[in-house]
Symmetry: C2
Subunit: 221 residues, 2 copies
């Protein structure tokens, strides 16, 4: 019985990593579609959303079934609860990639406003955060989880840089406003992905250390 349960947990781990790979691909393709001005690539992201949604439902049902049939306690219980929460985060990361594609589809109907420089860097950072947060989950590596949390500042800095740059465009040439607005909204989607990877990393720390790091400054007051 015990060994069967371990196998089930391994299976759940693999599914989460697989879902993470889909989420990471969605983020990459969404921004690539914009950078390379390729409408077809946005279709790929919409198809992957379908897949990640299925995966979420399956993973949720599997975790719920294990909670009901195995009645886990302590570390196993915390693992299953973390898996369900991380599952939700990954599905929402997929939603953000879809939001990027929706803005991209509007942007591709017009000539490019400017070459994209910071946005691809921001995208890579967000992807890396998602990947590392899931690696931290499966290896229960709290040091890696803390690195992920630290990287969120970089994403926020990219967001501020993008905002300032686009504001300059908009102020000097009002015809750029709709395109600049779409790019600002895309940067906000990527910012949220950084937040979601941070949420995953915080879940990992809570799961391993049983310590809530979600509101570090506020719980002591």
């Amino acid at each position: 019985m015990e060994r069967h349960f371990d196998k089930s947990l391994d299976h759940l781990n693999r599914k989460i990593i697989e879902m993470g790979t889909v989420a990471e691909t969605m983020i990459g393709r969404a921004v690539q579609a914009l950078a390379e001005r390729c409408m077809d690539m946005t279709d790929e992201v919409f198809a992957l959303e379908n897949r990640i949604n299925h995966m979420q439902i399956e993973l949720d049902e599997e975790a719920l079934r294990l909670l009901a049939t195995q009645q886990p306690v302590a570390a196993d219980l915390r693992f299953l609860v973390a898996a369900m929460k991380i599952n939700g985060e990954l599905e929402r990361i997929g939603d953000q990639a879809v939001n990027v594609c929706e803005s991209t589809r509007i942007l591709l109907q017009q000539p490019p406003l400017k070459p994209l420089v910071i946005l691809p860097m921001m995208t890579e950072t967000a992807q890396k955060m998602v990947r590392e947060s899931l690696n931290a989950f499966v290896t229960r590596d709290t040091a890696l989880a803390k690195t992920v949390i630290g990287e969120d500042d970089r994403v926020d800095n990219f967001k501020d840089q993008i905002f300032r740059e686009l504001l300059t465009y908009m102020m000097s040439e009002p015809s750029t406003i709709p395109r600049a607005m779409s790019l600002v909204l895309i940067s906000r989607n990527l910012e949220r992905i950084g937040d979601q990877a941070t949420n995953i990393a915080e879940e990992v720390i809570y799961m391993v250390e049983g310590k809530d790091v979600r509101h570090p400054d506020k719980t002591e007051s």
Copy 2:
């Protein structure tokens, strides 16, 4: 034992409603601070964030403790898992209210761009969605949950109206761009609150009917 567990579930229900009231107040105060140009009111929202964060940790721990000690199955298990997820949504609704306040603090340093008309209506709809989704949770009322899901279209329409109106301001008078941008971002925060209330409503339906309504169009393909 059974009766003690029922009391614990009641206690959890009450805590969720209490947290919902805090979240709803935060949303209302954040937009009121903007409409009435009152900086002090934003302080109130930041104080309430502290409170909602505490509540989230307490509620999570209580649900985890009940999972471990009571080993619930079927309806009770689904209730506890739903409570943990709804708990997370409520804390994020609080985060969105804080985001609104951050934009408000910037906006209050400059003269008002225009009287707010649609934003207060959008706010009321978002607040109502949060309130009704939680009422649906405690009364296990799936019809009410479905009403909430239907209301999300209204929130999205408000968001589109606000965007179009502010775009007109920006295009005709570039000096309005920074303020208009802040207002657009505030409307996006409110839009997300509508999404989060929708998530809560979907959890309620799943909890009661055991039917996953999160991806209605996509799971059948």
